[in-house]
């Protein structure tokens, strides 16, 4: 029962500095953010904060693929966090996967070694939300999405937020993330595709991640025509607006 | 599979030693013991509370004369052996008294007895001692607890900015401040920044020192000083640890903790340092080298001037094999004393050493034989306690 529109709740974990629970397209992830806190000597950096990302699978022990995800997220998130503001400290992000979309047609093994692109947007989005709820100073926000190129009878078509079954049949799979300045922050693709296809993918992803109504009045914004997938940036904004509103109810 | 562990050596057949002042006690204890439990016989009860607060005094009298007196009344004490009342020992949780006139001292705590009255209760297995109205329990055995004025042997374990941390076998590391040592160039010399920078040149980790306890912190930590020629870095010898004055044999506080012993088989003079904390240092005796010109005016200050040159060297002088052998022999004696639960002090060590020399003579390979373990040790101990 995958959720059709993304849902998020902030500060779900009362004892963390910041936290978020995000569920979309069958993925549910909870993230906690603590920091800036004292860094251990081994990851202490004289000029900037160390961003420590931990990804924990819902079942089974984390393996090499989790390390790889952590690596990707860490390098991307430390780009949008103002790490230089907190030398010798660490900003600790723990991402707990709660549920992943089930594929009713296969019994998959618990521990998988291959890298897991489709989960990245969920992890990434949750992390960003958690960082915002922890009020960690940031350069910019960012949004991410996953699209698949599926060939149905000859012609290729691009599917956003593909289901497990789509992914099995896709010829290529792409994860992209953009900063709120429309810069390409992260791009991971696997499969078999041409430069032209990637261009298509890029445009599609950018539409999902970047285009939004004018920032001044974020409430009433125009959703783009094909409602295949929501406008992530708008989603991010409205989520935060509700948070700020409830935080500052007294204003 | 039945496994057996040998209990520590005990002298069922050996009579206990008694010190003179015990005689007087016996009289009293007769009087008292009847009132307590009938089966109690004169067992050398020491009611002399004073004894416990002035341990040195007692040992002085004890250690010195014990030898002569001990053996005179074997028959009597033989009878007394199995008859020491259980009450001689208190154990943890045992009520000592609920009588409010007493004050609780070391090794005791207050527990609420019936209807809110407080009982002084033992927190140790040991013997009750009292000083006026102060009741305390001296443990059968414990780690060394420092007292001001104790002479201790210690090992440097940590070097800090202005002080050393020294292991003296206590529950905490002792502190030796840089300000509390003799600096090369005489006692009058002021401490300088450079001294702090080159603190390791005086004592480094692992160095052994003999020092005196100068003062105590509230939490029981000790502060040492070596501001005297007797004290300072130790060289030319061998270190050994036996249990200290915490209780249960080993080194006891006595008249002299440090003396020079003229060894047999031309081993030459040998220094013995019995740290009150149970750390022992046995080394070749080295005369302070006093150059010719100093010979004339023997002022203690400029004597120090000269000596201080070698004060912090970690170099051993040449030690002749004979001396080494005798040092080893003395070490053997001390070990034997401890293994056989005898007290370690100047008197016992000296007598023990002489015995050891005798033993060596009768043995196959003569003075070369320094082995004093097992049988030999027991022999030695026997000889010391018997005629």
């Amino acid at each position: 029962m995958a959720t059709v529109t993304p849902e998020a709740s902030l500060n779900a974990l009362p004892r963390a500095d910041g936290s978020a629970r995000y569920s979309y397209a069958g993925y549910t992830v909870t993230a906690s953010v603590n920091g800036p806190i004292e860094a251990q000597r081994r990851d202490e950096h004289a000029y900037e904060a160390h961003v420590d990302v931990i990804v924990r699978p819902s079942a089974g022990v984390g393996g090499t693929r989790e390390r790889h995800l952590e690596f990707i997220l860490q390098s991307s998130l430390s780009q949008i966090i103002l790490v230089k503001n907190f030398p010798r400290s660490v900003i600790q992000i723990v991402l707990q996967v709660e549920s992943t979309p089930e594929n009713a047609y296969v019994n998959t093994k618990l521990v998988q070694a291959s890298l897991n692109l489709p989960i990245i947007p969920a992890l990434f989005q949750t992390a960003v939300l958690a960082l915002l709820s922890a009020a960690v100073p940031m350069k910019a926000t960012a949004t991410s999405t996953v699209v698949a190129v599926v060939s149905d009878d000859g012609s290729k078509k691009i599917v956003a937020d593909p289901s497990p079954q789509d992914i099995r049949e896709a010829t290529s799979l792409h994860v992209l993330a953009f900063t709120s300045h429309d810069e390409l922050l992260l791009s991971e693709s696997e499969g078999d595709f041409t430069v032209k296809e990637w261009d298509g993918v890029y445009e599609n992803a950018q539409k999902i991640c970047c285009q939004t109504a004018s920032k001044q009045d974020g409430i009433d914004m125009v959703l783009d025509d094909d409602a295949s997938s929501p406008d992530m940036r708008h989603f991010l904004r409205s989520t935060l607006e509700t948070k700020v509103a409830s935080d500052l109810h007294w204003k | 599979m039945p496994i057996t562990i040998l209990p520590p050596k005990a002298f069922r057949d050996q009579p206990p030693r008694h010190s003179l002042n015990h005689d007087s006690d016996d009289v009293m204890s007769d009087a008292t013991s009847d009132s307590e439990d009938s089966d109690s016989q004169p067992g050398g009860v020491s009611l002399d509370g004073g004894a416990t607060i002035h341990p040195r005094k007692r040992h002085r009298s004890g250690a010195g004369a014990a030898a002569s007196s001990t053996f005179t009344k074997r028959p009597k004490t033989n009878a007394a052996i199995n008859s020491i009342p259980r009450s001689a020992i208190v154990t943890p949780g045992e009520r000592i008294t609920t009588d409010p006139q007493w004050m609780r001292g070391h090794g005791t705590y207050l527990s609420s007895a019936s209807l809110g009255e407080q009982a002084i209760t033992s927190s140790l297995a040991g013997i009750v001692t009292r000083t006026n109205k102060l009741l305390s329990v001296r443990p059968l055995r414990a780690r060394y607890t420092p007292e001001v004025g104790d002479l201790v042997v210690g090992r440097i374990v940590e070097v800090q900015a202005k002080r050393w941390r020294v292991d003296v076998g206590s529950t905490q590391l002792a502190a030796l401040p840089l300000s509390a040592i003799n600096l090369p160039g005489g006692i009058l010399r002021k401490r300088t920044e450079t001294d702090e920078l080159q603190i390791r040149t005086f004592f480094a980790e692992g160095d052994l020192v003999v020092a005196e306890v100068q003062q105590l912190f509230q939490d029981g930590g000790a502060v040492l000083h070596t501001r005297s020629l007797k004290y300072g870095k130790l060289r030319n010898g061998v270190f050994m640890a036996v249990s200290g004055t915490g209780g249960g044999g080993g080194v006891v506080r006595s008249r002299r903790q440090v003396w020079t012993l003229e060894s047999a088989n031309n081993g030459g003079p040998i220094d013995v340092i019995l740290g009150v904390n149970g750390y022992v240092w046995i080394s070749k005796h080295v005369e302070p080298v006093v150059p010719e010109e100093a010979k004339g005016q023997t002022g203690i200050t400029n004597l120090e001037e000269v000596v201080s040159a070698t004060m912090y060297s970690s170099q051993n002088d040449r030690i002749e094999p004979e001396t080494m052998r005798e040092i080893a022999r003395i070490r053997g004696v001390v070990t034997a004393l401890v293994e056989n639960g005898l007290r370690v002090d100047e008197d016992m060590v000296t007598k023990g050493y002489n015995e050891a020399v005798e033993l060596a003579l009768v043995s196959a390979d003569g003075p070369e034989d320094v082995y004093l373990g097992g049988e030999r040790g027991e022999q030695l101990a026997a000889a010391l306690t018997a005629v």
Binding site: I37, L82, A135, V244, A245, D247, W250 | -
Partner: protein, 246 residues
């Protein structure tokens, strides 16, 4: 929510220059949540509501949550971690580097008369120095007047954790009007005798003769904070608490 639609900003969003207050003499003052990128860019670093004060030519982001980041002049409640030769190590929030509080930074303190604080005791202090490259420094005395102005060790009492935003509201000059917090007044009106000290680091110390009172105050503060109660709700809450505690 409030009548005039508040302007919510996210990190990195561009602020309409027309909003940036200008003044001939006094320069623009940037509050928390904003950073200035030369030459003339002003960018939010946190998600919150942009507040512009044209009179004071200052602007800042109003937000709640996160971990306390020391900044100069803040009043904080710290916990003595341990004592060094001439200063105390004080913890402001768990897992962060300790701040330092000189032994002599108390009212009329000398080597002899300085307060002896054991680890675990609490102090009400002001952040005298804070920058990213050094551990923060504290003082319990106004360096100019030499007076304590209420700073110093906090004896007995209880500390309650609240959100940073709530602590800020409590610390407002007119916490009642601007901050819309009335619990304390309400509790006072119920005839409860207690004193409080509020730390910017999200800690409120409540001292009172009666344990009950202190607990009540604590619960009132926490609930007001966690449930985000309005003025009326706060008064109701107080009534309720008083009823069930008596």
């Amino acid at each position: 929510m409030s009548s005039e639609s508040p302007l919510v900003v996210l990190p990195g969003e561009t602020i309409d220059p027309s909003l940036i207050p200008t003044h001939k003499k006094n320069p623009l003052r940037l509050g928390p949540g904003l950073r200035h990128i030369p030459p003339s860019e002003i960018v939010p670093t946190v998600a919150g509501q942009l507040v512009v004060d044209h009179r004071k030519t200052s602007m800042w982001i109003e937000y709640n949550g996160g971990r306390y980041i020391p900044s100069q002049g803040d009043l904080i409640i710290g916990q003595i971690a341990r004592s060094a030769t001439d200063f105390y190590y004080v913890s402001l929030s768990p897992y962060t580097p300790n701040a330092t509080l000189p032994h002599l930074a108390f009212e009329s303190a000398t080597k002899k008369t300085r307060p002896q604080l054991a680890s675990g005791e609490l102090v009400y202090a002001r952040v005298s120095l804070a920058n990213r490259h050094m551990d923060p420094e504290l003082e319990c005395v106004n360096s100019s007047t030499g007076k304590a102005d209420g700073l110093g060790p906090l004896k007995d009492g209880m500390v309650f954790d609240v959100s940073l935003g709530f602590a800020r509201r409590l610390l407002m000059a007119k916490s009642r009007e601007e901050g819309k917090v009335e619990v304390l007044e309400a509790l006072g009106e119920e005839g409860l005798a207690f004193e409080t000290a509020v730390g910017r680091n999200g800690k409120v110390w409540v001292g009172s003769e009666s344990v009950k009172t202190a607990v009540m105050v604590g619960r009132a503060l926490r609930e007001t904070d966690e449930k985000g109660l309005g003025v009326e709700a706060q008064r109701k809450l107080v009534k309720k608490l008083v009823r069930e505690m008596r």
